[in-house]
């Protein structure tokens, strides 16, 4: 590094020093401290006491709720992510057509994204109300005598959460749409000349060309799904019930930290989640070589 470059670096660092300070104090320090706390019994208001790996061992061998929260989170991620991708692409395809008033439709699909999570949860609690909700009313019109109990009955709680999540997938839709609009028109013109039908164009042009966007949304969706918290927290009033069906991993972590004051235990949970997200993301990136098309490669 030349003298001039070093000067520039120092000046740059000086300019971002307020942010750096905040980053180190509010992110890096807690991040590192949480590693230590995860090896302690730490009740927040009394000093932490080192216990080695006991929190991790207890989590894996003695805590059935830990396993339940993992299953719930995997169930939610495993269904909401593929459905979200499928629905996002279909809606983006529809929004990519030339129809009068398209800007209005695009706005409508994006609107749920700007609804705060809390309002989102309360709104859907009413929409999916077993007796007075509009969804059950419509189901009733089809002649179903016992419509689902949604958030009140264990078996229907997670499907309810998934429906809620799909409603708010406008951000992914906009990203898919941007990806689709980036596809060179010449590719479709050539396909038209070759006599390709609509489905063949989707399969052979659109999907490969937006595969990098799908990868992006998949990774972001994975992270969000594993950190899913606000909606189940509000709907279940912080309990994760009925029958622990809405006890997502982050909700359980929150309860351990701030309801039961087991901060050390919660830190161990947070680290396991961090490692799990990294491993899954790495796996997705590793396999993406086989299905993501990068132009020019």
């Amino acid at each position: 590094m030349s003298k001039g470059e070093r000067k520039k670096l120092i000046i740059g660092l000086a300019f971002i020093s307020p942010w750096l300070l905040g980053f180190f104090i509010f992110y890096i320090y807690p991040f590192i401290a949480s590693i230590y706390y995860s090896f302690t019994v730490y009740h927040i208001i009394s000093p932490p006491e080192f216990i080695g790996l006991r929190n991790y061992v207890d989590l894996i061998t003695r805590d059935p709720l830990f396993i339940i929260s993992i299953k719930n989170t995997l169930y939610y991620a495993g269904i909401s992510l593929p459905l979200g991708i499928l629905m996002g692409i279909i809606i983006a395809l529809l929004l990519n057509t030339r129809v009068k008033g398209m800007a209005f439709y695009r706005t409508i699909f994006f609107l749920p994204v700007v609804v705060p999570f809390a309002a989102h949860a309360i709104l859907w609690k009413w929409i999916l109300n077993p007796r007075y909700g509009i969804i059950n009313y419509l189901i009733g019109l089809l002649g179903v005598k016992h419509p689902p109990g949604w958030f009140q009955v264990a078996g229907w709680a997670k499907p309810g959460l998934i429906i809620m999540a799909l409603w708010a997938s406008g951000q992914a839709i906009i990203i898919y749409l941007a990806g689709m609009q980036d596809i060179p028109k010449t590719l479709f013109e050539v396909a038209d000349l070759d006599g390709a039908n609509w489905f063949q164009k989707i399969k052979n042009i659109t999907l490969p060309m937006i595969s990098n966007v799908i990868l992006f949304n998949l990774v972001m969706g994975l992270i969000q799904a594993f950190q899913f918290f606000t909606q189940p927290f509000i709907i279940s009033k912080g309990t994760g019930r009925p029958m622990d069906s809405m006890l997502m991993y982050n909700l359980y972590l929150y309860k351990q930290a701030f309801k039961f004051f087991n901060m050390g235990y919660a830190c161990a949970m947070a680290w396991l989640l961090f490692v799990a997200i990294i491993l899954i993301t790495l796996f997705v990136f590793k396999t993406s070589k086989n299905w993501v098309f990068y132009g020019g490669e």
Binding site: I45, N129, Y132, V153, T239, K259
Partner: protein, 459 residues
Amino acid sequence: MKILKIFLIMILVFSLVPFLVLARGDKADKAGKEEKAAEEKAPEVITLRIIWENWGADFTKYLDGEWTEKYEKDHPNIKLEWLFPASWQEKEIAELAGGDMTFDVFYMRPSFLPAIVERGGLIPLNDYFAKSGVKTSDFVDATMVTCMVGDQIYAIPGGADFIGWFVNKDMLEAVGYDPDNPEINSIEDIEVINRRLAKWDDDGNLVQLGYMPIDFYQLINWGYMFGGEWYDPETQKVTGNDPANVKALEWLVEIVDYYGYEELLKLRGEYAEWSGASPDHPFILGFTAFDSNGWWNYEILQNYAPDLDYGVINFPTLTGDPSEKANWVVMGWSVGIPKGAPHPDEAWEFLKYSWYDFTAEFGALTINSPSVKKSFPRFEQLVNEQFGADHRIAKLMPMFDEMGIHATKSMPTTPAGEFFDTELDRAMEAAMSHQMTAKEALDTFTERVQVQIDRAVGK
């Protein structure tokens, strides 16, 4: 060169910031000293900072309004500053964890107090009690016991939640009961009226019921009624699987089976609030004939259902024998002084003033029942004055006070804190959904809560 100058100036500015702050502080100190000198003749004004549960503006307005005015008028040198955070537990924990305590008074619920006492978060009040001539026997036993860990007193009982059964007179009359004296005194009476009141629509959906048994408070209550105990503070052992508690849960499961668990859950989910203040409360809407609640419920009923003809009866007991009233459970809240509080002596004076000397006045104003036994007559008198002796809730007050006179049981207070309540709810769900027998569910509950307690006390 120019760039280097800019960099040097920036470094200089950043280096100067702490000095500027110090200089400002110094200046402020000087100004402070001058002010102090000027104020030496005048007595020091202290601000007591209080963390309180957010009861909603309809109720907190009495605290930071009239009660504060009254207190500050009687104590010209003390100001009260109330904080009503979204989660008072988290705020109190954060304040304790921060180390530099700036609050003087903490509001608490029974499940919270022992959990923070175990971690050294509260000042013992034994000396204050002794110096002030306040005796533990002055309070309703069931509320006093939730303020103590062993022999140490860590809080003063605040409001006592004396619970009665609000009954919908029209619904009772419709199924053949005398609305003014329905004679629902025992579990047998509950079973009978449940069968008379339960209704399903043509599609088999439950649309009306009598007694709603899904709530951990109900299990705690019936556990005591059947003769059980939940926790032994001497040995720090959970006794949740006491055979009497198992019997109580089995009885609740029988009631649930009659309605159908899923139907009950669905019915419960149809309303925004089952137990809180809400215009779509099922009792208000006439879907359930009973609502176990405190006297503060009158205001909700007055606001949202002024035409509802209701009465209040005593909480039923096991056989209806009057001696069983001792097994009634009193809930409530308490008030303590956190460790490191800046003004502990003044905080104690505030505690004593609000929840001992003038607890009847506090209760009548803020729609709470007092915990000091000798204050009951004064409290009833104030309620009568406030509402008028003909007001129906004024007439019903003795019904609530009766619980204060007889009840000896309180919500279990363990170092496991809220974990206890959470796990009990889970045990009820497991039994009511028949995933476990009542015995298995309470065995699991006992084992899990014991682990949490051992962990909390460092075993």
